[in-house]
Each structure stands twice: as structure tokens, then as C-alpha cells.
């Protein structure tokens, strides 16, 4: 029996059902994940765009200059 015959024998209404069931399960799982997560963790994550990491130093030299001579004196204001 070929795959085409097998699929043709299956009821077409089955395919949309499969989709809806899979979506329902994923949605349920996500809802559980969200409800169970801590508020403090969510608050910390929601503020992530506002963090940029600690600034160590500023330099007006290009990366190429830094790569060629990293020890040369330069302006810093860390």
C-alpha cells in the first residue's frame, strides 16, 4: 500500500482535529509554566532591556587600533 492510498483512506476531518489538540496541549503547558513561575523572577526578566552590563571603560580608539597596539596610552573615564 502506498502512502498516497493510506492518506486518502484517512478522514480529512482528522487533520484539523490533530492541529487543535496539539495547540490546546501547548497552550495548556505554557499557561502552567506562566502560572507557576515566580513574580520576582518575571519582574527581573521584564527589566532586562534596561540593563546594559557594567561599563568598565570608554575609549575613543577603534577596535583595529586597540588590536594592533593595546598598550598605547588612551583616555579612560571608567
Amino acid at each position: 500500500m502506498r502512502m498516497t492510498d493510506l492518506m486518502s483512506g484517512a478522514a480529512l476531518s482528522l487533520f484539523p482535529m490533530i492541529g487543535l489538540v496539539i495547540f490546546g496541549l501547548i497552550f495548556l503547558a505554557m499557561t502552567v509554566r506562566v502560572l507557576r513561575s515566580s513574580n520576582s523572577e518575571a519582574r527581573r526578566h521584564s527589566a532586562m532591556p534596561l540593563e546594559e552590563g557594567a561599563t568598565l571603560a570608554r575609549t575613543d580608539r577603534t577596535p583595529r587600533e586597540l588590536a594592533s597596539n593595546p598598550n598605547a596610552p588612551e583616555r579612560t573615564d571608567a
Partner: protein
């Protein structure tokens, strides 16, 4: 290659801070803002090109002579240029600028490879330039938003996956922040899904290469660039709109949501309203979007089950979309007072509001009853512009106004100009979409109007066109305002850039290296939710699950469509196009006729009365690619061969459409009446189609395809002459004759006698005329008879 960490002993020594992976496990690093600058400038410049092209073709809608009579400036060829420029050049560069800026900061890491970043930038610009050259030349696959031909498709795959994808994922893997922020999830979904869509919608057979391999002859440049998709008819339609809809979803929505989740909090200086909501938003959106494509094909020859599935999932999509919009707008809580004086926030707020409007309208338009009215009208055009200009455009402008001063390390030149840009853009969009909503609904209602005697109230299609012209002029005005706003932005940014410091300052940041994720002894049960938290820290695993999520929808729709026989009932009288008709079809595609004409009569009474018997799935089994179209600026052509078979009519119509149909907005195609048809290319075209399983039988032998085409060209030319057109000698070698042969064929298969058709081997009994002819046999007018050795 990796350049994530920069040890800077000089800096560290002077600042007294640790350097590289020095004391305390801290690493110092710089962000690569150079590549962000490049993408930001490219966004501004390509945006203006895209808007200019849009205004130019909008003028042609109201005043067709504005194409100046050139083939390469006609609406059919420039409309794909406009859409590609808007989507892939403007929005594309915008999302790259956003991704390169925010990913580095969210990962606390420089992009993995500067070289890949630059290759990505220059590769993408080269692709855009290739599109700008090939599309006006009529080099196109003829599939909306996937017009670019196969060599450019290959380049897109290399740049997207090889340069951009590798660089992005390696940056994620080498990040210094444990949790992947939700914006990164949207970027992940964008990268993997666009790659998947691009590959599966661009599986083709290049005709030039087939010709080269089979015959050992160098093909013409035109044939070299030509390809045919492996899918045909219904299957091609499903694949194309699975791609087309999800190009909107994963190129114009998910990356912009990532942009929103990063830049909106930045601009508002407030954290995201609800991170929990963003998680639900992400997974629901990503999972649901992929199913929605078939709603572009309601009432077409696509099986009803697939269309219904698309509709149901489209309606469900409304909820996560609005969840995202609400999350965006509520992020501004506590910052609303700044709205009046901050143009950046204005752009973001109106942009997010347009997202909400578009994502309400989209599900509404996907409902079959609404779609009956809206489909093929300007309503769809208004809908996509409310999304593209309102959501993508305004979000991009907001991001650029926030980003450019930071990238140029100076103040924005003029806040007032930015404010003026906001109002020009917003009023411009309003004028555009309101006039085109009006045009769409007006035309849709006129197409289906019946008088009291039960006949069509507007039987002549042109009646439903001329009434729209004033609305088309308003659209031009709205588009001009939008364009003017973008020009103000360019001026503002140039002035800002001129105030930049002599040397850009490089900020050195510091963060601890990421240690391997802790393996806990706790069991991750479903109910604990910890399993997802673990994915959020593992980019590869997360990516695999996203890919599975988006693949499910595509597979559940595609597998039955390709494998269930009952989806495409065969019709005994449907045969392949003749070689000349095939060449004509390729001209139809090259000229972009599908941008204005559909070839799909829906089983609706108003349509069957106007155009004839509705289109059947089995009629387009040899259509590589399908040409059902998405808009009727001119009438449907699915039964053109039945309702309008006169060759001379078409000849004159190409010469001057207004002469045949007063008020017509179709431009003259005079150049086609003199452009010579390359008959030698036809061999390669037929060979490529035969490779796809089209039963051409003896036509793939020797030069039979060319002989067959010449014989049919002669017949069409003779008909033109007999119907009062120019003499055969002036017509039979032209492109117009091939296109006429194709148009005369459209929709006729259904009316053939099955006893006269051999579907298995339709050209089985073909013998070239030169072999059949005896001396003295020929037309009485003395014109040249096609010969096998011509």
C-alpha cells in the same frame, strides 16, 4: 573567528579594573555598533526607495501613462519591486539593525564574528541590488513576495543561514546572560522559520541549467535565469500562501515584536508590563500563525477543509496578537505624560496601535463571508498597508529616532522635524488606508450587485474601475506625505551624523562569563513549569522546539494536500500547454500580469455570471507556478480563451487598451508587438517542464518543441491577419503572438471533447510540419510557412 572577548590591558591597567577573563571571572567586551550603523542607514535609504516606488506605481493606477511607455517602468514589473523593497530592503534592514543592537546587549556579548556581520550586511545589500535590477527586467518566478529567481534565492539562503543565522546563534551560545530575554525568542523564531519557508517555497528546476546539461548548448541569459517551481496548481497555491502569509508573520511580525519588547521599554524607561504575558504571547503566536496561510485562498480551488482550517486558526490568532499589543501599550504605564513631547514614544504608541488594528482586521478578513467581499479588492491592499506602514513603518521610525543619536554619539539634530515626520506619516497612512478601504468595499459591492431583473448591475468590469480613480488620487497624496516624512527623517539623520565626534567612542563593558548550566537533582515535572525555564537558558534546545512548533502547522496542512488524491480530482480533457503557450505563459509571468488579473473564478453566483464556469482544482495541474492572483485591478482571465478568443482583439488591446475599453487603466504593451520571441529558448522551457513530469512526449526530442511553437505562431498570426490585424510577417515572430496563444488557451480545456484528447500522451502523434508538407503546400497569400529548419 570568534571575537566575543576583548582583552584590553591598557584600559584595565589605567582603570584598575580586571580585564579579559581576569579576576573574579569578569570579562570585558565591546559591542559592535558599526554594523548597526550600517543597517540603520540602509533602512533609511531603502525605505525612501520603497516608498518612492510605491508612489510611482500608485500614480500609474490613476494615470497609466505615467509609466512613460517603458517596459521596465510598467506597473506589473514595478509592483514586485515595490513590495520586495518595502519588505526585504526597508523592513529587512530595520530588523537587522534591531537584532544586532539588542542581541549584543541582551546577551552581554559582542556578535560572535565581525566578519560574518559584515558579510551579512554586504550580502544582503547585494541581494537587494540584484532584485532592483532583475525585477524591472521581468526576471521573476511569478510568486508574490518570492519573485526573485533561483540564483538570488541561493544567495538569500547563504546570507540568511550561513552568515546571519550562524553569527546570531553562536552569539547566543557564547552569551554572558543566563536567561534569554523574550525578544531573543522572537528573533530565534524569525530566523528558523524564514529559513524553512524560503527553502520549501523555492524548490525549482532551473530551465537554463536543464538546457545546458541536456543539449550541451549555452542558454540565453533570459533562459539561464528562468526556473519552474516543482509544485503546480493547488499544491503550489497552498505552498505559496503558506510562505506568503508566514513571510508576513515571521518577517514583518515576530522580529518587530522582538523590537517592540526591547526598544519600547528602552524608550519608555519602564520594564515590560507583563513578562508572563509575553511568554503566552510568544508561543501562541508562533504556533498559530503557521496554520493561517490558506485563508488567502477562500472559495478558490483549494479544498474546503484546508481553507476552513486556515480560517479557524486565523480567528484564534487574534487573541495572542492583542495580548502582545496590550503588553506593549501597558509598558507605557507611568510614562504617558511623556507622550506629548516625545516623538519616539508617539511613533511606538501609534505603531503598536496599528498592530492591534491590523491583527483584528486580519482575522476578520479571514472569515469566509467577509472574505467573499474583500478578496481580490483593494481592501486587502489597505489591510497590508495599515500593517506595513503603520506597524512596521512607525516602529522602525521610532527605533531609528532612538538609535541614531546613540549610534552617532550626539543629540538628534531636530526634535521638531521628528515630530513633523510623525504627523506626516500618521496622516499619510490614514489618507492611504481610508481611501483604499473605500475603493475596496465599493468595488467588491459593485461586482456582486444585481438589478431588479436579476442581471449584473455593472456587467462591464470597467464600470467598477473608473469609479475608484478619485480614491486612487487620494492614495497618491497619502503616499506622498509618508514619503515626505521619510525624506525629513533622512535630512534629520544626516544633520545628526554631521555632529558626530571625530572618533566614535568605544564603551568597554564587563560581565562574568557564563558558567555551564547547573544540573539540579530536582525532577522537572510538567506541572512545575521548570522544563520551560530550562529551555529558556538553552538556545539550541529552545530553537529545536520552536522549529517543531512551526513545522507542525505546515506539515498537517501540506501532507494531506500532497498525498490525499481526492483533493485534486483530475479532469480528462486537461492537457499541458503547447510550447508556444508555455512561452506565452512565461511572458505573462515576466510582465507581472498576475499583479492585476486573477485566474480563479470562485463558485459564487456573481462570479460565474460575470466570468463563466467556476475554476476546478484539476484545471491547473500543469501550472508551474499557479497564477490565481490576489487582486483584480483588471478582470479575471481564467476563462479568457472561452469568452474572448479573438487573436486580433488581443493584439489591438496590447497596442492601446483605451481604444478597446475606454477608461481602461491597463497601460499599453506596444513593445510586445515588436519584441522578437526567442524560439530557441522554448526547447529549454519544455525540457524543464518535462523534467517536472509534464507529459510532453515527442516534443522533448530534438527541436520538435521549436517546430511546434513556430507552427502555432503561424496559425495565431494568420488569425490576426484574417481578423483585420497586421500581416503575418509582422506578427508571427513576436512575443505578443506567444502571449495571445496562451490567453486563447485559458479555461478552454473544460469544454473539449474527451474523445479528442489523449491525456496520457497528448503530443504523442506530433510530427513536425516540415516532415508532413509536400512541395506547393502552403498558404495562398504567399507568406512564409514555418519550416523545421527555421
Amino acid at each position: 573567528m570568534p571575537n566575543n572577548t576583548h582583552n584590553s590591558p591598557g584600559i584595565a591597567a589605567q582603570s584598575g579594573a580586571p580585564s579579559g577573563a581576569a579576576a573574579g571571572g569578569l570579562e570585558s567586551f565591546r559591542y559592535d555598533d558599526g554594523v548597526v550603523r550600517l543597517f540603520a542607514w540602509a533602512t533609511v535609504i531603502w525605505g525612501i526607495v520603497a516608498f518612492l516606488a510605491g508612489v510611482f506605481i500608485a500614480v500609474q493606477m490613476a494615470f497609466p501613462a505615467a509609466n512613460l511607455g517603458f517596459s521596465f517602468t510598467s506597473f506589473g514589473r514595478l509592483r514586485p519591486l515595490h513590495t520586495n523593497a518595502a519588505v526585504f530592503a526597508f523592513a529587512g534592514n530595520s530588523i537587522f539593525a534591531a537584532i544586532y543592537y539588542s542581541t549584543q546587549r541582551l546577551c552581554k556579548a559582542r556578535m560572535w564574528s565581525d566578519k560574518l556581520s559584515r558579510l551579512h550586511f554586504w550580502g544582503w545589500q547585494a541581494i537587494i541590488v540584484s532584485a532592483a535590477i532583475t525585477l524591472p527586467l521581468g526576471i521573476t518566478q511569478g510568486k508574490e513576495y518570492a519573485e526573485l529567481e533561483w540564483p538570488i534565492d541561493l544567495a538569500i539562503a547563504v546570507v540568511w543561514v550561513g552568515f546571519f543565522g550562524v553569527n546570531f546563534f553562536m552569539t547566543l551560545i557564547n552569551r554572558r546572560e543566563r536567561h534569554m530575554y523574550v525578544a531573543l525568542w522572537f528573533y530565534i523564531a524569525t530566523i528558523v522559520t524564514v529559513a524553512m519557508l524560503h527553502v520549501f517555497n523555492n524548490l525549482w528546476v532551473p530551465a537554463g541549467l536543464v538546457h545546458l546539461v541536456k543539449n550541451g548548448e549555452m542558454p540565453s541569459p533570459e533562459l539561464m535565469m528562468k526556473s519552474y517551481p516543482i509544485y503546480a496548481g493547488v499544491q503550489d497555491a497552498l505552498m505559496q500562501w503558506w510562505y506568503g502569509h508566514n513571510a508576513v508573520a515571521f518577517f514583518l511580525t515576530t522580529p518587530f515584536l522582538g523590537l517592540m519588547y526591547y526598544f519600547l521599554p528602552k524608550a519608555a524607561e519602564r520594564p515590560v508590563f507583563s513578562y508572563k504575558l509575553s511568554i503566552i504571547h510568544f508561543w501562541s503566536l508562533v504556533f498559530l500563525y503557521i496554520w493561517a496561510g490558506p485563508h488567502h485562498l477562500h472559495y478558490t480551488a483549494l479544498p474546503d477543509w484546508a481553507a476552513t482550517l486556515g480560517m479557524v486558526f486565523s480567528v484564534m490568532l487574534w487573541m495572542p496578537s492583542w495580548g502582545g499589543m496590550i503588553n506593549g501599550l501597558l509598558t507605557l504605564r507611568g510614562a504617558w505624560h511623556r507622550l506629548a513631547r516625545d516623538p519616539i514614544l508617539k511613533f511606538f504608541v501609534v505603531g503598536v496601535t496599528f498592530y492591534g488594528m491590523s491583527t483584528f482586521e486580519g482575522p476578520m478578513l479571514s472569515i469566509k463571508l467577509v472574505n467573499q467581499l474583500s478578496h481580490y479588492t483593494d481592501w486587502t491592499i489597505a489591510h497590508v498597508h495599515s500593517g506595513a506602514l503603520g506597524w512596521n513603518g512607525l516602529m522602525t521610525f521610532g527605533m531609528l529616532y532612538w538609535l541614531m543619536p546613540r549610534l552617532c554619539q550626539t543629540e538628534l539634530h531636530s526634535k521638531k522635524l521628528a515630530g513633523a515626520h510623525f504627523w506626516l506619516a500618521t496622516v499619510g497612512i490614514a489618507l492611504y488606508v481610508l481611501s483604499i478601504y473605500g475603493a475596496g468595499i465599493t468595488q467588491g459591492l459593485m461586482w456582486r450587485a444585481f438589478d431588479e431583473t436579476g442581471r449584473l448591475e455593472y456587467p462591464s468590469f470597467i464600470e467598477t474601475v473608473v469609479v475608484l480613480i478619485p480614491m486612487y488620487w487620494i492614495r497618491v497624496f497619502g503616499g506622498l506625505m509618508f514619503l515626505l516624512g521619510a525624506i525629513l527623517m533622512l535630512y534629520n539623520f544626516i544633520q545628526t551624523w554631521r555632529n558626530r565626534p571625530e572618533q566614535y567612542e568605544e564603551v568597554v563593558h564587563q560581565a562574568p562569563a557564563l558558567r555551564p548550566a547547573k544540573e539540579t537533582s530536582e525532577k522537572h515535572t510538567l506541572m512545575s513549569g521548570d522544563w520551560h525555564r530550562a529551555w529558556e537558558r538553552r538556545p539550541v534546545k529552545f530553537t529545536v522546539f520552536v522549529l517543531v512548533g512551526v513545522a507542525i502547522g505546515g506539515l498537517v496542512e501540506a501532507i494531506p494536500m500532497f498525498l490525499v488524491k481526492s483533493n485534486i480530482p483530475t479532469i480528462a480533457t486537461v492537457t499541458p500547454y503547447t510550447p508556444l503557450e508555455l512561452a506565452g505563459r512565461d511572458i505573462y509571468i515576466a510582465e507581472g500580469c498576475y499583479n492585476c488579473h486573477s485566474q480563479m473564478i470562485r463558485p459564487l453566483y456573481a462570479e460565474t455570471v460575470r466570468y463563466g464556469e467556476y475554476s476546478k482544482p484539476g484545471e491547473s495541474i500543469y501550472d508551474h507556478p499557479f497564477q490565481w492572483g490576489s487582486r483584480r485591478i483588471g478582470p479575471d482571465l481564467a476563462r479568457e480563451g472561452v469568452t474572448n478568443p479573438s487573436a486580433a482583439w488581443h493584439w489591438q488591446h496590447f497596442e492601446d487598451p483605451k481604444l478597446i475599453t475606454p477608461g481602461s487603466i491597463m497601460p499599453s504593451y506596444k513593445w510586445m508587438l515588436t519584441s522578437p520571441l526567442n524560439f530557441n529558448d522554448i526547447k529549454g522551457r519544455v525540457d524543464a517542464m518535462a523534467m517536472l513530469g509534464v507529459p510532453y512526449g515527442p516534443l522533448v526530442v530534438g527541436d520538435n518543441a521549436i517546430f511546434h511553437a513556430r507552427e502555432q505562431a503561424y496559425e495565431v498570426a494568420l488569425e490576426i491577419q484574417e481578423q483585420g490585424g497586421p500581416p503575418i510577417a509582422d506578427t508571427q515572430e513576436t512575443k505578443a503572438v506567444a502571449l495571445i496563444a496562451y490567453l486563447k488557451r485559458l479555461g478552454t480545456d473544460l469544454y473539449k471533447d474527451p474523445d479528442d484528447v489523449n491525456t496520457k500522451d497528448p503530443f504523442g502523434d506530433y510530427i513536425p510540419a516540415a516532415s508532413r508538407m509536400v512541395p506547393g503546400d502552403g498558404p495562398e497569400d504567399g507568406s512564409e510557412v514555418p519550416h523545421a529548419d527555421d
